[in-house]
Every structure is written in structure tokens, then in C-alpha cells.
């Protein structure tokens, strides 16, 4: 008996349709955008209180239940907060050779000593708090970028990006790490968030 042994070809015409369906399914269920936000470190859990902060080295920001912002004893507009914070950190009262502030006696002695405290009340709204955090980080980023550009010719963010890239080799990473640490050392972020006082 002579049977036909030729295997029939599978029709692949619908393959494209199947793949398209899968593709559309993934497009609908997946999201490309990655989250972004403000990174902060919470303080360690300990009960000791910090004593001996000179008043000039502390920049106190309070936000009340009505979302009014008070900085160093005066109610201020949100628009001038970043400028105020920058002036406070970069004041350069004593032996700070890279600061460009005016060096008054009322603002911080040195960026390394400058401490910013944010106080909130229970009814303060969260977006306002985030905005204040954003302005403080903005002030720090601005100052760090300025020094980074002056010393190494690139903004800090670019160095950080390169540092986290996989293809950067070890030697370069080591160098970048040193550079980043130098900048962070110049303007360390010291942000206090004292616990809300019951009221």
C-alpha cells in the first residue's frame, strides 16, 4: 500500500493574529512608568534627645493645621521657602571656604552644622508637607550641584546615574563614589522631624 507520507504544512497565517492578541493584552495590563519620589531616611529609633544645638544652626519650619508655613518664627510664603533654606545652609558664618552666603550671625555657621527641622500638626495636609520636603531637597540639590560642577565639572545627579549603571567599571565606580561622598560631605542633609506635640 502506498500511503501519502508527506506531512501537511501547518498553516501559520494566524500566528500573527495570536501574537497581536498577546501583545495587546500586555499593553493593557502593564504599565511602563516607574515610580519616582522623594527619598528620605528616618532617624534611628532611640530616645536620646539632641542637646546643644545653637539657635543659629537650627532652621525651624512648622506647618500648622491650616497649612500655614512658619520658618524661624515668621509666617512665610511657600514661594520664598527654597531661597530661605538655601541662604540658611549656605550662609558660611565661619571657616567655610566654599560657601557663598552673606555670613550673617543669625544663620548657620557651617553647612555641616546646619539642621533643618520640620514640625507638623495632625491636621496638616500631606501635599503641603511633601511640597516643603521638596523645597528643602531642592535647596540641597542646588547647592550640591553647584559644588559638583565647580569641582568635577558634572552635576551630582549625572555622577549618581553613572555610578548606578551596570556597565560602569569598578575603577570608575570607586572614583565616582569618592566624588559623590565629597559633595555629600560638603552639604550633608540634616533634617529633623520632631514628634508632634499633642495639642
Amino acid at each position: 500500500m502506498a500511503t501519502h507520507r508527506t506531512v501537511q504544512e501547518v498553516n501559520a497565517g494566524s500566528m500573527a493574529d495570536i501574537a497581536f492578541l498577546l501583545l495587546i493584552f500586555f499593553l493593557v495590563t502593564a504599565s511602563i512608568e516607574t515610580d519616582s519620589g522623594l527619598n528620605r531616611m528616618l532617624p534611628q529609633k532611640n530616645e536620646d534627645t539632641i542637646a546643644d544645638i545653637k539657635e543659629r544652626n537650627l532652621f525651624e519650619i512648622s506647618i500648622n493645621n491650616a497649612d500655614e508655613i512658619m520658618a524661624n518664627g515668621e509666617i512665610i510664603h511657600f514661594e520664598v521657602l527654597r531661597k530661605g533654606v538655601t541662604e540658611f545652609i549656605d550662609n558660611g558664618g565661619s571657616n567655610c571656604d566654599y560657601c557663598r552666603g552673606i555670613g550673617t550671625d543669625e544663620l548657620s555657621e557651617h553647612p555641616g552644622k546646619a539642621i533643618i527641622s520640620i514640625k507638623t500638626q495632625r491636621n496638616t495636609s500631606y501635599p503641603v508637607y511633601v511640597s516643603v520636603q521638596n523645597e528643602i531637597l531642592g535647596a540641597y540639590n542646588h547647592l550640591r550641584d553647584r559644588e559638583s560642577l565647580r569641582l568635577f565639572g558634572v552635576p551630582l545627579e549625572e555622577m549618581e546615574l553613572e555610578y548606578y549603571k551596570e556597565e560602569t567599571n569598578e575603577e570608575r565606580k570607586q572614583l565616582l563614589k569618592e566624588h559623590i561622598e565629597v559633595i555629600r560631605e560638603m552639604y550633608p542633609q540634616k533634617i529633623l522631624e520632631p514628634e508632634t506635640v499633642k495639642n
Binding site: 504599565s31 519620589g37 495636609s125 511633601v130
Partner: protein
């Protein structure tokens, strides 16, 4: 000499375009999207419009993130949960005092080398008050999860202040 006559012998009928490689192309597209996207594995049970900020940093490594949503229960759940701000972790509502336990549970599911760099992403709605955020931070501090991220949208912060609350 070049013989122009040769052209006349070329078959003028266009051959049909082969679509045999079309599935391959589509599959490549498919794999591309499968790799660059992340699938949402959380069902949002709370209202979640994030505030805006400019000085943001990207969190591109999804594997080391503990997500905490804060907001009013959304329309499907507010009949039961009421209109107060609630906290959602891992597809369920969590009471404030249990946050630490849940966070540690999620942390223990992570591979060991990631636990040190785990970040808590706080996704709080614009309508939330600071009270609940303070409590949340206190709980996180008590379980020593100190790296936090206030997750926001990119945008002008001034819009936060004028937003209807």
C-alpha cells in the same frame, strides 16, 4: 557595451510580499513590552492621587520596594470602611498597629541580599492629613525600616497647594 535590452526580459509582475516573518516581528515586540513593563499586582482599594514634586528620584528596581497606600477607601469599599484615611498593604486594609508586622512579612519574602536596601514607598493620597503619616512613620521606625520614599508624580509643587482638598 551595456545591453539595455536586458531590462525587457525582467518580469514586471511584483512578487507577493511574504508575511511569513510578521509573527516573528510581533513576537519581538511582545517580548520587548514584556521586559520593559511591570505588571500591577495590587488592586487599589483606596483613593490614590499622589502629590507632585520636582526633586524626585526614580525607583526603577521593583523587587526591593514595599508599597504602602494611604487614602480614603474608594467607592467600592467606603460603605464598609467609612471616609477616614485607611492604609492598604498587599491588597488588604491594615490597622496602624499592624503595619510593622505586615512590612516585616513582606520583607521576609524578599531575597536576603535585598533586605538591607529595601525601601518603603509611601503612596499617600493628596487628601491625607499628616496625622496618619506620622503614625505610619513611627511604626516603620519601630521595625527599623528607615529608607522611605514619598512617592509622587512629576510636576510643579505649587499645584499641590492650590489643589482642592
Amino acid at each position: 557595451m551595456i545591453k539595455f535590452n536586458n531590462f525587457k526580459s525582467v518580469n514586471r509582475n511584483l512578487p507577493a510580499i511574504s508575511t511569513a516573518s510578521l509573527p516573528d516581528i510581533v513576537f519581538i515586540l511582545l517580548f520587548f513590552f514584556m521586559t520593559v513593563t511591570t505588571i500591577k499586582n495590587q488592586n487599589l482599594m483606596v483613593e490614590n492621587t499622589l502629590p507632585k514634586a520636582t526633586e524626585t528620584e526614580k525607583m526603577d528596581k521593583q523587587d526591593r520596594i514595599i508599597e504602602i497606600f494611604v487614602g480614603k477607601a474608594n467607592s467600592t469599599h467606603n460603605a464598609v470602611m467609612g471616609n477616614e484615611a485607611r492604609i492598604q498593604m498587599d491588597n488588604r486594609f491594615v490597622a496602624i498597629k499592624d503595619i510593622g508586622d505586615y512590612a516585616l512579612q513582606i520583607l521576609s519574602r524578599m531575597p536576603e541580599h535585598l533586605r538591607k536596601v529595601a525601601t518603603v514607598s509611601i503612596k499617600a493620597d493628596v487628601g491625607v492629613k499628616m496625622g496618619i503619616i506620622e503614625d505610619l512613620k513611627k511604626e516603620l521606625r519601630s521595625v527599623n525600616l528607615l529608607k522611605i520614599n514619598y512617592t509622587t508624580y512629576e510636576g510643579n509643587v505649587f499645584e499641590n497647594l492650590n489643589a482642592p482638598r
